[in-house]
């Protein structure tokens, strides 16, 4: 009798001999609707091969971690996403965070900045500074980083449609501080595909958007070598209501699409792939999240090596930032969110994240107050310094359940890659609304399960107490918007408008051809062209995107 047969037999005997308590549910399913068994044994990972499936941390296929000794060498970057009101206010918040041990900056931009329109545009009404910091020009950017040495800190900017412009603003701001581009460290999100799929802050149609992204990748490979040119993001896909498997599969599919576009441009995979990074969500189901990260590293490594023929190990190594799930925060008894965030953060650490943003407990109600942000940062520090989970690398490896679920998630992601390929790739699948429909179906199903109480959200659909909530809220002064508009109008009067127009004209000409647009954007920024002006010029050539409104 083989060992597997013996275990099978013993397990059957065990199941027959014991008297099980009636189980609480008919079936136990995680958030990806994967059925979870009562018990896992070596038989659930029969073909498990340590060298091929796990290997050692820092080595192919990187399942156990991106770096050899992980948090024993360096903790993850504690990077709290922040931005609100105007550049002065956010600059103060950054200094507060740095003083409390934040080790990297992460910029949240105002919605009007995200859409590449000026504060003076009527469509910006009511949005300025509400969801992030209002940035219109180089002037604002200089204020934002005033007193912060850009050669010393790493900065992540959550920006997509106008990512090339914000990168240019960062480069020129650093230049004014006396630093050269090769000293700069940070990330632009720059992931437009997930905008069409989930977050919806697109500007141009997919094809010209991809061109601009490849321009930034090409430019940074030459001049800003320490910059992460793209943060391929599952976070927003998950926030839009996807399952964990969908988040995993759609994000990696987007990643492959960027790789293919850069290869088409003639770039060498080992020149650009090491500067690609990822951004995932961490939601409520603990083990599902841990396994998602482990599967992501292995899938990426396998595809980069086998399909795209990368040679350098760094090209195969997936590194990622995590943010705990905003969508999982409850407005009811908001303090409970501190416990949710702790578990989500722990999952991302046990999954091997390189950097982490923990949400503040009050974010289902408003932008976070200073006290709530501090608790969120403290949560990370407690995991890092008190819990002991950082003492060894990938401590959950070898668990029958964890390895089985990691395999299962990889398998389900591969099924999705096949479906996407059958539709002709990511962009055709977007145009066919494939992702959008998959996500809408998943999110409706999840909501129904909550309403039917098949899934429990504490104090929302079970153990509810209808007490009015009383956490202090952060309000954005409406005067911020008027001030932003006045500042921009004043800037447009004071700058050399002849030069601005010249630079914008040259950018427009370049957009008609195939030249890399980055140097032209940087030139326009140096003359204080606004983000909206640059986007408008590009829109004349590239057009705008419109989506089908399906639900």
């Amino acid at each position: 009798m083989t060992e597997h047969d013996k275990i099978k037999q013993d397990k059957e005997e065990w199941e027959n001999s014991i008297s099980l308590k009636k189980e609480r549910k008919q079936s136990f399913r995680n958030l990806s609707e994967i059925e979870i068994n009562r018990l896992y044994t070596p038989n659930d990972i029969k073909d498990f091969n340590y060298a091929l499936d796990l290997g050692f941390p820092g080595q192919y296929p990187f399942t156990r971690g991106a770096y050899p000794n992980m948090y024993r060498g360096q903790l993850w970057t504690m990077r709290q996403f922040a931005g609100f009101g105007n550049a002065e206010q956010t600059n103060k918040r950054y200094k507060f965070l740095i003083n409390h041990g934040n080790t990297g900056l992460s910029v949240a931009f105002s919605l009007h900045t995200i859409y590449g329109i000026d504060a003076t545009d009527p469509r910006a009404l009511g949005e300025i500074g509400k969801e992030g910091v209002a940035i219109d020009s180089l002037k604002d950017m200089q204020t934002l980083f005033d007193g912060i040495d850009l050669s010393k800190i790493s900065t992540s900017m959550t920006i997509n449609g106008p990512a090339s412009i914000l990168l240019a603003l960062y480069i020129v701001t650093a230049e004014k501080q006396g630093h050269t581009p090769d000293q700069l460290r940070g990330t632009i999100q720059n992931d437009i595909l997930k905008e069409y799929i989930a977050q919806k802050s697109w500007i141009f149609p997919p094809e010209p958007s991809m061109r601009i992204i490849i321009d930034t990748i090409e430019y940074c490979a030459k001049y800003v070598p320490q910059w992460y040119t793209i943060s391929i993001s599952g976070y927003h896909i998950r926030e839009a209501g996807s399952t964990a498997v969908q988040e995993l599969a759609f994000t990696l599919a987007d990643g492959f699409a960027y790789v293919e576009a850069a290869l088409e441009r003639g770039l060498d995979i080992d020149d650009f792939a090491p500067r690609l990074s990822f951004f995932f969500n961490s939601h409520n189901n603990f083990f599902e999240e841990v396994c998602k990260y482990r599967a992501a590293r292995r899938i990426w490594a396998r595809h980069m090596k086998n399909k795209y023929e990368a040679k350098k190990p760094e090209s195969m190594r997936l590194r990622f930032h995590t943010q705990t799930a905003g969508v999982s925060l409850a407005a009811q008894e908001p303090e409970n969110n501190i416990a949710r965030v702790t578990l989500q953060a722990l999952a991302s650490v046990l999954g091997g994240t390189q950097s982490l943003h923990t949400n503040s407990f009050d974010e289902a109600l408003c932008l976070p107050t200073e006290n709530a942000v501090k608790i969120a940062l403290r949560t990370q520090q407690i995991i890092a310094y008190e819990s002991g989970v950082t003492d060894t690398v990938d401590p959950l490896a070898g668990s029958y359940y964890v390895e089985w679920l990691t395999n299962k998630m990889e398998e389900e992601a591969e099924n999705y890659f096949q479906q996407i390929e059958d539709l002709g790739g990511v962009i055709p699948a977007i145009k066919a609304n494939f992702f959008q429909k998959e996500i809408a179906n998943a999110s409706y199903k999840y909501q129904q399960e909550i309403e039917n109480r098949e899934r429990t959200i504490v104090a929302v659909n079970q153990f509810e107490q209808r007490e009015p909530c009383s956490v202090p809220l952060l309000k954005i002064d409406e005067e911020i918007a008027n001030e932003q508009i006045r500042k921009l109008n004043k800037l447009k009067e004071e700058r050399d408008n002849k030069k601005v127009n010249e630079k914008l004209e040259r950018l427009k000409e370049a957009a008609k051809g195939t030249e890399n647009l980055m140097p032209f954007i940087i030139d326009a920024i140096r003359e204080y062209a606004s983000i909206g002006e640059i986007i408008n010029v590009l829109k004349e050539i590239f057009g705008a995107y419109h989506e089908d409104s399906i639900y």
Binding site: L111, E127, A240, I476, S549, Y551
Partner: protein
């Protein structure tokens, strides 16, 4: 079969906010409750919304706003509806609406204010019970 006209609801996302998970879930729930639902998609200006109301003549308009622009945008929508003589349409707004803004929005004729964690059934019942025609 009932000869009664179906309740017609317009679901919209005003402003630049792209958080559309909630509004899409709500649109399906209203549809599954037997209503006729039109979803406008995101990035709707007040003029876009008012024009759609004129064309489609819905019984209720459900605005979904999570970016904090409700105080600036909702009163404009209400004023423009009034300018066109439309006063028999229920207009509700949901999303992230802090309690202290509700009185202000109510004074402009808005109702509802359902936020994260609300049962879909609660909103469906709200629509059924608060129609103005």
């Amino acid at each position: 079969m009932s000869k009664e006209r179906k309740i017609k609801v317009l679901c919209c996302k005003p402003g630049l906010d792209g958080h559309d998970r909630g509004v899409k879930v709500l649109a399906r729930a209203l549809r599954d409750a037997g209503m006729e639902v039109i979803y406008t998609g995101i990035h709707q200006t007040p003029d876009d919304i008012v024009n759609t109301v004129i064309q489609e003549d819905p019984d209720a308009v459900m605005l979904s706003m999570l970016s904090g622009s409700h105080n600036a945008i909702c009163p404009i929508i209400m004023d423009k509806l009034k300018e066109h003589g439309i006063d028999d349409v229920l207009v509700a707004v949901g999303g992230i609406i802090p309690d202290e803004d509700k009185t202000f929005l109510e004074s402009h004729g808005l109702k509802g204010f359902y936020g994260p964690g609300t049962d879909l059934k609660t909103i469906v019942d709200f629509v059924k019970n608060n129609l103005k025609r």
